[in-house]
């Protein structure tokens, strides 16, 4: 109630947007004051962040935040911190971050040099590549077969951009999020859906009839996943990275990986030695 009154007053006084002075770590201060870390994450990207059959909001990235990042933040600010999740999708995640609606994007965001111009990325926590999801028996086997075909992609994704550049004759249809794109594929609106391989496997695995779908094609791009934060807040990035680093060193990261991607996990996907080496190289191992 108090917040609503403050907002009403503020709205009346609104002439020009406020400018606030840059502090040591605004994000950490705000988190400390509220006692809450607000993350923007996905609701339809299994097994990274999705709403499962029991209508619970769970996922690999969510676990990484809860078990690695939050303890690091709590240690840094000196008090227990709770987690609030908000939905973010490729087109909305950077605006949400920049408007202070969320403090951290923790879903399936690819770390690219271009994106680094507007946001800060944490250490890479997953490595995959872009592929295609098609109906079983489709003539499409990879990026060489898609000229002239209708391809679905998420608005604002790296996959959409690459298809537009590499195969301009493909009819690219962009959708606001993964479920919308998948529905288009199910209904035959498009011939294939492009996204990062692991997400396609996750989607296929959770689909009503997994046997109807195939993931095809060699990786046509490399997709390292990172958690995104506002630019210019070095101390916050340091804290988040410290949490992830601790996870790599102590082995907790690999436990969480095993929970979701191990042989008994939601989506068995063994961690190849090259990927493991890549992840550990980040922290100098």
């Amino acid at each position: 109630m108090k917040r609503v009154l403050v907002v009403l007053l503020a709205f009346l006084l609104l002439a020009t947007p406020l400018s606030s002075a840059s502090a040591q770590s605004q994000t950490l201060d705000k988190i400390k004051e509220a006692g809450v870390l607000t993350i923007g994450t996905r609701t339809g990207s299994p097994p990274f962040a999705y709403i499962n059959k029991n209508n619970e909001w769970v996922g690999f990235t969510i676990d990484l935040v809860e078990q690695l990042v939050i303890p690091a933040i709590a240690k840094e600010v000196g008090k227990p911190i709770k987690l609030t999740k908000k939905e973010s999708t490729p087109p909305t995640r950077i605006p949400l971050l920049n408007s202070n609606s969320v403090d951290l994007i923790a879903g399936t965001m690819t770390d690219t040099p271009e994106r680094r111009q507007s946001v800060e990325f944490s250490l890479t926590f997953f490595l995959t590549g872009a592929q295609f999801l098609v109906k079983k028996g489709s003539p499409i086997h990879g990026i060489n077969d898609i000229a002239g075909k209708r391809i679905a992609a998420q608005q604002g994704s790296t996959n959409a951009k690459i298809i537009r550049e590499k195969v301009p004759t493909a009819q690219l249809r962009e959708f606001p999020d993964q479920p919308a794109a998948f529905q288009a594929l199910v209904q035959g609106q498009v011939d294939a859906y492009t996204n990062d391989g692991i997400q396609l496997y996750g989607l296929k695995g959770k689909a009503p009839n997994p046997g109807d779908w195939e993931v095809v094609g060699d990786f046509f791009s490399e997709e390292p996943y990172g958690m995104a934060m506002r630019k210019g807040d070095a101390k916050f990035k340091q804290t988040v990275d410290a949490g992830l680093k601790q996870g790599f060193e102590s082995g907790k990261y690999f436990e969480i990986y095993d929970k979701w991607f191990g042989p008994k996990g939601e989506l068995p996907y063994p961690l190849s030695p090259q990927v493991k080496a890549y992840l550990l190289k980040q922290i100098g191992k």
Partner: protein
């Protein structure tokens, strides 16, 4: 983190083009939906008066069901729920020709048709039957009574609330962004995504809507006053005839 206003993003680069495209799409979808709504409104309003009970019941069902459910739910229903039920050739045509635009247009038109039906019906019903009887008694044919006596009054009763609902239709077209129709509000978010200039984008979109709505309302009230019949009290709907039914 400070926020500097940078109005130039609105006309440099893609933004101006997007805003224009958005405005055109808004006008297109609203115009088509309006035609559909008026047609459905007149049809269901007329069906309410025929002596055949099943047709009357169908009209009542249409009005009572379609206008009491949120427009957003209809958008999802028409876009996601209906296409799989259509024959394959129709589906293929739709998917190649902006299915989302047509779904949005139908959702908007069918929803507002149910609302306009009520406006038209109560307008016609508030004309006393005696007007018709008197004009026939004076020797006018049925057609002449409608053209010279009933319709002029009916139009003057119906036009104000109809204008109100038509403006609501225009504003409600913004709901179509949820099914990816690239109308004006969608484009303001598009500008925000690509330039991070949310304040400027939102202001531009808001101003365009204001100009459209206040403009159309202003023109219509001039038209109403010009054609008003002195002494005819237009009070369809009672107090708050300006409300959004």
């Amino acid at each position: 983190m400070s926020y500097q206003l940078k109005w130039s993003v609105l006309w440099s680069g893609q933004s101006g083009h997007w805003l224009l495209q958005g405005l055109l799409t808004t006008l297109q979808i609203s115009a088509l939906a309006w035609v559909l709504a008026v047609a459905l409104g007149i049809l269901s309003g007329a069906l309410r008066t025929v002596p055949f009970k099943p047709l009357r019941a169908a009209a009542v069902f249409y009005v009572e069901f379609f206008r009491n459910v949120p427009l957003l739910v209809w958008m999802f229903f028409w876009y996601f729920g209906v296409p799989p039920l259509l024959p394959r050739p129709v589906q293929d045509w739709l998917f190649d020709h902006s299915a989302e635009f047509w779904a949005g247009m139908f959702a908007l038109g069918v929803y507002h048709g149910a609302r306009m039906s009520e406006v038209i019906r109560s307008g016609i019903q508030s004309i006393p039957r005696t007007q018709f009887e008197a004009s026939v008694a004076m020797g006018l044919s049925v057609w002449q009574s409608y053209r010279l006596v009933i319709l002029p009054v009916a139009l003057r009763l119906i036009v104000p609330p109809l204008t109100n609902d038509s403006l609501n239709l225009l504003k409600n077209s913004s709901v179509a962004l949820t099914i990816s129709v690239a109308e004006l509000t969608f484009q303001t978010r598009q500008i925000e995504t690509y330039t991070a200039r949310a304040f400027e984008a939102l202001t531009a979109g808001t101003l365009i809507y204001l100009v459209l709505c206040v403009g159309i309302a202003g023109v219509m009230s001039v038209v109403e006053r010009r054609y008003a019949i002195p002494g005819l009290i237009a009070r369809v709907g009672g107090p708050g005839g300006h409300a959004r039914p």
